[in-house]
Symmetry: C2
Amino acid sequence: MTIHELLGIELPVIQAPMAGVQDAELAATISNAGGLGSLPCAMLSIELLEAELHRLTSLTDGPFNLNFFCHDTPSVTAEQHNRWRERLSAYFRELGVDPQIVPSGKPREPFGTEALELLETFRPKVISFHFGLPDKPLLQRVKSWGSKVLSSATTVEEAVWLEEHGADAIIAQGLEAGGHRGCFLTTDISTQTGTLALVPQICDAVSVPVIAAGGISSPQAVKAAMTLGAAGVQMGTVFLLCPEARTSPLHRAALTSEAARHTALTNVFTGRPARSIVNRLVREVGPMTPDATPFPTAAIPVTALRTAAESTGNSDFSPLWSGQNAADCCEMPAADLLRHLASGT
Amino acid sequence: MTIHELLGIELPVIQAPMAGVQDAELAATISNAGGLGSLPCAMLSIELLEAELHRLTSLTDGPFNLNFFCHDTPSVTAEQHNRWRERLSAYFRELGVDPQIVPSGKPREPFGTEALELLETFRPKVISFHFGLPDKPLLQRVKSWGSKVLSSATTVEEAVWLEEHGADAIIAQGLEAGGHRGCFLTTDISTQTGTLALVPQICDAVSVPVIAAGGISSPQAVKAAMTLGAAGVQMGTVFLLCPEARTSPLHRAALTSEAARHTALTNVFTGRPARSIVNRLVREVGPMTPDATPFPTAAIPVTALRTAAESTGNSDFSPLWSGQNAADCCEMPAADLLRHLASGT
């Protein structure tokens, strides 16, 4: 089965779900243009998720992808809690923020029964997961509606695991990719592999279709990824400047600056390794620090700092998610950009 | 000018110079088969270099590449010296080796006037450098013979620097590559970029031909790299099992084992980041440690440990250089493998 048949799409391109920088508008635009638009759901309350789903289905009749996280909910000891705030204490003083403040907004939560029940009424064509797959009963319910299930592998071992546990296609997430690494069998970032080396090895190891992700941002790169054996590609960073994205002005400015040349895998924003443009927090506290509390709790004090800093136009504490090639980002409407990117397929 | 004209080759493939695992035989075999064979020279005394050059020119009439390092010779404080040996002390005890022993064999030395004068009589078609370029007077002498000069860039900034300083072509060394990173403007490994993201950005930044390296090990990957804009490719790891390579039996065994799935950038073997299969020394002391003395001096005590361990068939302390895709390595004669790899170009 081709990826076109599996996912019900005309173009072999998935728009990567990017929590915090896009909503139903970008997803619907991509789906209407023949790709697979994705809605990041991990940071939405159940009420917001329902509202976004109504909006999405009002904007497109095409297939779309809903993305959820499926991490374990962590326990944080008092010592870990205090050490992380202590590590950040100079910034709290500098910005005049109370280190015990808990910002409003929903923390990232794993996929659960509440979302499952809501989704049953929408029966999306595709559901994708990050950090593995949910437990078998949840996954079976999702699959019983006919939804196709995707998840990301960052190593050959993870790809084999995902196929064995029921993924219908696997996103081979190369090291170049922006945002959170999907790694779930290991947190050792030395295991993370470049897209060009990862895709062929995963293609050899599994029999389901493989979707290449990480550093792909031009028609040539799309073609290169498919030459390596991928059935399709997933691209995120390249869409961040589109008018349909909700990327903040500070994030847009960073993406078009020289600073975008240097990204790093960092756990300072959430506790899990994710690729961001290197800014002050990454440089001074990271990129990787053992002081960050477990995902997603590290984000709580950082979000308080970020909110205060952003209010004065400062992105020193903002997660500036980006892959390793932001040079091809442009302000083109997403549908035009999608057609350009897929022009060689 | 195409890379074929520039380097005098039929196939757009350079065999990567790999110090310690190959000599003139592999280089001559590749050159005779239409690619550009490379002789790693950084670890050869002037007498051995001369002997290898006579051997190489007796084995091939084709163009070849001589590779040199051009790092700064470091000064090592007594404190650094002692700290590194202290860090390794348990291994010296375990293996019954004197930690102050200095193994025989030439340390890695930068390109200098002695080698320059020897080379003048051979006038190689191509000379490549790792860690930047030598000083202007040396470089001008080399270029005055008509030798073409290559060097590796691991970032866009390094590529621009190399073009400005006289490189005739640039090797875009993606993060996937085995052995030493060529980085020279920074030692921050978070700047290192996957091949798929690096090649297009370097192609956009310079006007000289760009040669892609890192994770390329199949005809499909060669084609993908050239689709990204590369004029040719450099491949090393894929040749390590060829009968013409001098890869040790222990290294060959590691490359064909499951262990080859996990490589890391590590400074434990030489003091500079280089990609090796993760073995005991990398796992227990690295992958990156501030205790290693500056390149290349960190290798002195590690070589003493390695020699003792290898004598009992143990590769716990051996640099097991490999890129991030050793899955395509095979024992095929190098000429056949070269033709296979280049079959899509």
